[in-house]
Each structure stands twice: as structure tokens, then as C-alpha cells.
């Protein structure tokens, strides 16, 4: 009998394997596609932020930063002596219209309670800090400028976590698990992302296709933060000498990962040009689409022990936040499995029982 089997070797599976191995558990990770072609993490924008509505998400965001900054020491191995995730700590800027202002002020209370260090600014003063932004229709905005948010290379981060987990004794094998009953282990962790339903059919998590466009602009602002315009749902950040921009339009039940190209001219470009005048001149140079592991109940994570099983734990439903929450979730699951309760960040609000009883607890700030 195995000690721990983790089903799914994506970012959540790798992070969980790392933390469990560090605690001396013998972990076997089973992944059906080790090139991770349709996994969520490699197709994400790689962002890590603490600007959320709910305290748990804020705290997980804070831990992500701490962890990412410590990658060189934490994830060092003989094979990977200089681990990195190519971090760019440009910060985040989220902008809200009058319709979201009230909610945003309540979110700010949570930021304060969690000592998140975010800054709040009135829409009318936005151009004092970000002179390239058109503040029309912006009531309030939050941002960080102390290198506490930004983005990383998801694939490098995953590779470093995986290498370190292996170094600590974990085993990653290629294989497909069709049913939990195939596994004979003391503890089973389902980290199956978008495909959680294939193992646990009562979990309302489904793949949600999102498109990211790559654009070239004659003017470059390398210090631009990852910027989300909540009045349109469009978000963007610099990438090399170009920019990446995410579309707010998503699709369930998509047949393939072909980007929704037509959304660029119809929706994303007008939204970009309205907010940043240099974006009036853009050339579309590429794009891709990826899946969010969308929790259809409330866009929030589902983490914990599954009440219908003796030994099954799960983590899924991150709805686009899996990469940044992976360190916190890996640590939390490890605490739960090894001690029976959460020791650092209490994420019991994400418990599986919540989705089984349909107690929605929505996180509004999905980008």
C-alpha cells in the first residue's frame, strides 16, 4: 500500500507533493500528460496577487509572494542549483467603476485586516500615479508598488517544485487514473484541476476556456503592472517587448483550445484603447487559450477532505488562481493531512461540504 498518492501532477499536485515530502511522507504523483498540454498552469498569465475580496484569498496571495521570493533557497537541489521562476514583481492595479465601488471599499477593509499593504486611490487621482491611464469612468482603484505582486513563468515554477519534490523522495509517474477505487493508498489527494469531476462527480468544477492575446505596441511601458479593468473585465501586462491581454469572455464545454480570435477586435482592443491611449495602435501578434478550473458554484476554491471518503482529500476550483495559490494550498493540505487541522492559514471556508450543500461564497475578483 502506498503512503500518499496524488492524482494530477500539475501545479497543485506538484506543490502538495513538495510540502508532503518535506514532512517526510512518501508521495507518488500520477500524471496522465507530463507535457501538460491542456493543464491550466502553463497557459496562465502567471500572475500572483493579494488583491482579492475574501481574506483567505488575500492571505494565500501574501504567502505566494513569500514563497516565490524564497524559491532560490527553498527549491534548490543538486540537479537544479539555481531554481527560478523568472519573477517580475511589477505589482497589480485593479480599477473599479461606480457600480463596484461599494464592494471594493468592503474589500479594502479585508485588505487592511490582513495587512496586505495595498494602496487605494480615487479614480480622479489615478493619473498622478499612472500617467498613461485614462481614468474615465473609474471610481476607485487599488495597487501595490512594493514588489509584493507580479507574475512568474509558470512552467519554471512547476519544474522547480517538481524537481525539489523528487529530490525529497517523491515519485512522479505517467498514468491515467479513471477511478479512485484503482488506488490503494493510506491517503489520496485529488489534484485533477479541470477534470476533477471525472474522479469526484459531486464537485461542480468544470473547464472554462479563456483566451489571452499577444499584442505589439509601438510604445513600451516595461514598468506597467498587471492591470485589471473591472469595468470591462479586460486585463493586461507587459511581456518582453510586447503585451499580453486577457479577454473576459469565457466558454464552457469548449471543443478545443483555439483562441477566440474575433473577440480581440470586437472587445479586447476597444477596451485596451479606451483605458490606455498608446494602445490605440496595436498589432495582434499571437495568442492562446487555456482552461480555468472553474467552480461553477462561486468561483472559489474547493479544498479539504471529501466527507464521503475515509482517506480522500482534494483541491480544485481555483478559477484561474491555481498557480498563485498552489504554495498555500500545498502547505494547507499537508497540515490537514499530517495534523488533522490547518495550522497557518485557516482555509476551512473552502471545505468540500460547502459545495455539497451549495453554500456559495463568491470571490468577485476573477480576472
Amino acid at each position: 500500500m502506498d503512503d500518499v498518492v496524488v492524482i494530477g501532477g500539475g501545479i497543485i499536485g506538484a506543490a502538495t507533493a513538495y510540502f508532503l515530502s518535506k514532512e517526510g511522507r512518501k508521495v507518488k504523483v500520477i500524471e496522465r500528460d507530463p507535457s501538460y498540454k491542456t493543464a491550466s498552469f502553463p497557459l496562465s498569465l502567471g500572475g500572483f496577487r493579494r488583491q482579492f475580496f475574501q481574506k483567505e484569498n488575500i492571505l494565500l496571495g501574501k504567502f505566494a509572494k513569500e514563497f516565490i521570493f524564497s524559491i532560490p533557497e527553498l527549491l534548490k537541489t543538486e540537479k537544479n542549483p539555481n531554481p527560478t521562476a523568472s519573477m517580475v514583481p511589477n505589482g497589480y492595479l485593479l480599477m473599479f467603476g461606480p457600480e463596484h465601488a461599494e464592494e471594493q471599499y468592503r474589500a479594502l477593509e479585508n485588505h487592511k485586516a490582513c495587512d496586505a499593504g495595498t494602496k487605494n486611490i480615487k479614480g480622479s487621482e489615478l493619473t498622478n500615479v499612472f500617467p498613461y491611464i485614462n481614468n474615465e469612468g473609474i471610481e476607485t482603484a487599488t495597487f501595490t508598488d512594493n514588489k509584493s505582486e507580479g507574475w512568474i513563468d509558470p512552467f519554471l515554477f512547476h519544474s522547480a517544485l517538481k524537481s525539489k519534490a523528487i529530490d525529497l523522495g517523491a515519485e512522479f509517474i505517467k498514468g491515467e487514473v479513471k477511478s479512485l477505487s484503482e488506488i490503494n493508498a493510506k491517503t489520496i489527494v485529488s489534484a485533477a484541476g479541470c477534470w476533477t469531476k471525472e474522479l469526484l462527480e459531486d464537485i461542480p468544477v468544470v473547464p472554462q476556456k479563456h483566451t489571452v492575446f499577444r499584442v505589439k505596441c509601438p510604445k513600451h511601458i516595461p514598468e506597467m503592472p498587471l492591470t485589471g479593468d473591472l469595468t470591462t473585465g479586460v486585463y493586461w501586462r507587459p511581456e518582453g517587448k510586447e503585451y499580453l491581454a486577457g479577454s473576459p469572455i469565457s466558454v464552457f464545454d469548449a471543443d478545443d483550445l483555439e483562441p477566440a480570435w474575433n473577440d480581440f477586435e470586437e472587445l479586447v482592443w476597444p477596451a485596451l484603447a479606451k483605458r490606455i491611449s498608446i494602445f490605440e495602435e496595436l498589432k495582434l501578434t499571437g495568442g492562446w487559450a487555456g482552461y480555468y478550473d472553474c467552480n461553477k458554484l462561486d468561483n472559489n476554491a474547493v479544498v479539504g477532505k471529501h466527507p464521503k471518503y475515509e482517506n480522500v482529500y482534494m483541491a480544485s476550483g481555483f478559477t484561474g488562481r491555481g498557480l498563485m495559490q498552489a504554495p498555500g494550498i500545498g502547505r494547507a493540505l499537508t497540515e490537514l493531512i499530517t495534523t488533522g487541522s490547518y495550522q497557518t492559514i485557516d482555509i476551512s471556508v473552502f471545505a468540500v461540504e460547502r459545495v455539497l450543500q451549495s453554500n456559495a461564497r463568491p470571490e468577485p475578483y476573477v480576472l
Binding site: 505589439k216 509601438p218 480570435w261 482592443w269 484603447a273 490605440e280 495602435e281 495568442g287
Partner: protein
């Protein structure tokens, strides 16, 4: 000098091409369409020549279905003065396109006709040369540099051996390579303005050109799938395989 620039609407080069299951062609429904990339270079070059004071008018022309007008609007957004849309539905071969262009050239009397060297959909690489033949004009194909002289053009051409320079008398046809220039960015406000500009529309049938295809497309299929790869034991074996099996070195 007056320049006519021919542009074609094609599936955007970013889009993953999918073949229809019945083998009748590729999927175009709900697929992003754009101007054929080297046609953008043709428009850019015309605009640059006009900006240099060596041309007075740029007319963009496209041949195709109703929506082909989008490509004219893109040309108008970056500096073309007016547009002509020759409307025709269904597959239209380069020979028929060049006959249509010939009719328009006879009416518009441009001094130069520019277009991309090849369309990225049918990959024919024919229209410019055919138009030159029908008009009995000189042709400068695959241009990567154009110098406008008094009554001629000096054109540097991208050829397999390197670069070739020829001089062609005006009127002439030039087909443009991607290396010719860096097309400017169309700005969103200019695209919006171009959407309101009128475009002259002509029905291909009114030009007296037979547009029926001469080539039957029997079937379209996916290219053969890549064979599963192998691991080689050492560098010697790798070089052997590359030389004798893959024949790439």
C-alpha cells in the same frame, strides 16, 4: 503617380487551420480573417511612396465576397485614399482575379500596381505575374526594396541565390516580400473612421470576366500525421539518422 494596391482577405495567420471532415475545404465559419500579410507590405510601400511626395493617389482594391471590404478598410485606415471592391462569391482563381484587375487597371489607369507576392491561403503566387502578362507590363516580383526613379523603378528582389536588382519602366507590377518594410500600425480610431468611408462596389459579372474555376478541387485533407519519434543512443546515430533517414543535413 497613381498606385493601385490589391489586397486579399484570408484566414488570419495565427489561426490553426482545420480541414472539413467531408474533404471539401478548410473551416472558415467563425474564423478570424485578416488581410494577407504581404499585402500589408504592399499597402505600406504605397503609403511611403506617397508620403515621400512621389505618388498622388493610392487606390486599394479587393476581389471577393462582401466581407472582403474589411481589407480595404484596413488599407484606408493606414493611408489609402479610396477603395474598390469587386464582388464575387465562391472560389476565384488567380487567373480570373488578374483578368478582373486588368479591367480595373484599364479604367483607373494607375502607374503602378502593388500586391503581396503570395496569398497565405491558396499559396499560388500567381496573380501579379499574370496581371503583368495580360497588361504586357514589366513585373518585379518578390520585392524587398523599391527605389522610385523618374520613369522607372529600381527593385531589389529576394531570389534563392540572394538578391537580384532589376529596373522596370513604369507602368509596372510589383509583388511584395515581407522583408520590404515594416507595415505601420493601424490605429483603432482610424479603423473606426475607415468604416464610414464609402467604397466603390463593382460586380465581377459586370466586367465581363468569366470567373468559373478551371481547376477542380477534388479533396482537401490534413497533412500526414507526424510519426512517433525515437530515442537515439548517441551522437553518431543522431547524425546518421539526420543524414540518411530524415535527409535534412
Amino acid at each position: 503617380m497613381k498606385i493601385l494596391v490589391a489586397v486579399k482577405r484570408v484566414i488570419d495567420y495565427n489561426v490553426q487551420i482545420r480541414v472539413k471532415e467531408d474533404g471539401s475545404g478548410v473551416v472558415t465559419d467563425n474564423v478570424k480573417m485578416s488581410t494577407n500579410p504581404p499585402d500589408d507590405n504592399a499597402v505600406e510601400e504605397a503609403v511611403k511612396i506617397k508620403e515621400a511626395g512621389k505618388a498622388t493617389e493610392i487606390v486599394a482594391i479587393t476581389v471577393g465576397e462582401e466581407k472582403a471590404q474589411e481589407t480595404i478598410r484596413k488599407a484606408l485606415a493606414v493611408g489609402a485614399d479610396r477603395g474598390i471592391h469587386v464582388k464575387v462569391d465562391g472560389i476565384i482563381e488567380p487567373l480570373a482575379v488578374s483578368k478582373i484587375l486588368q479591367k480595373v487597371v484599364e479604367k483607373e489607369k494607375p502607374d503602378l500596381v502593388f500586391m503581396g507576392k503570395q496569398a497565405i491561403d491558396d499559396d499560388c503566387n500567381q496573380t501579379g505575374q499574370m496581371l503583368a502578362a495580360l497588361l504586357n507590363w514589366p513585373q518585379a516580383t518578390f520585392a524587398s526594396k523599391i527605389e522610385v526613379k523618374e520613369k522607372s523603378l529600381e527593385v531589389t528582389r529576394e531570389v534563392d541565390e540572394g538578391l537580384e536588382t532589376i529596373e522596370v519602366n513604369v507602368p509596372a507590377i510589383v509583388t511584395c516580400d515581407l522583408r520590404l518594410n515594416e507595415p505601420r500600425y493601424a490605429s483603432l480610431p482610424n479603423i473606426m473612421k475607415a468604416k464610414k468611408k464609402p467604397i466603390e462596389q463593382i460586380n465581377a459579372s459586370d466586367l465581363g470576366v468569366d470567373t468559373n474555376p478551371r481547376i477542380e478541387q477534388i479533396k482537401v485533407e490534413e497533412p500526414p500525421k507526424r510519426k512517433a519519434g525515437i530515442k537515439v543512443a548517441n551522437v553518431e546515430e543522431l547524425v546518421q539518422k539526420l543524414k540518411n533517414e530524415a535527409k535534412v543535413i
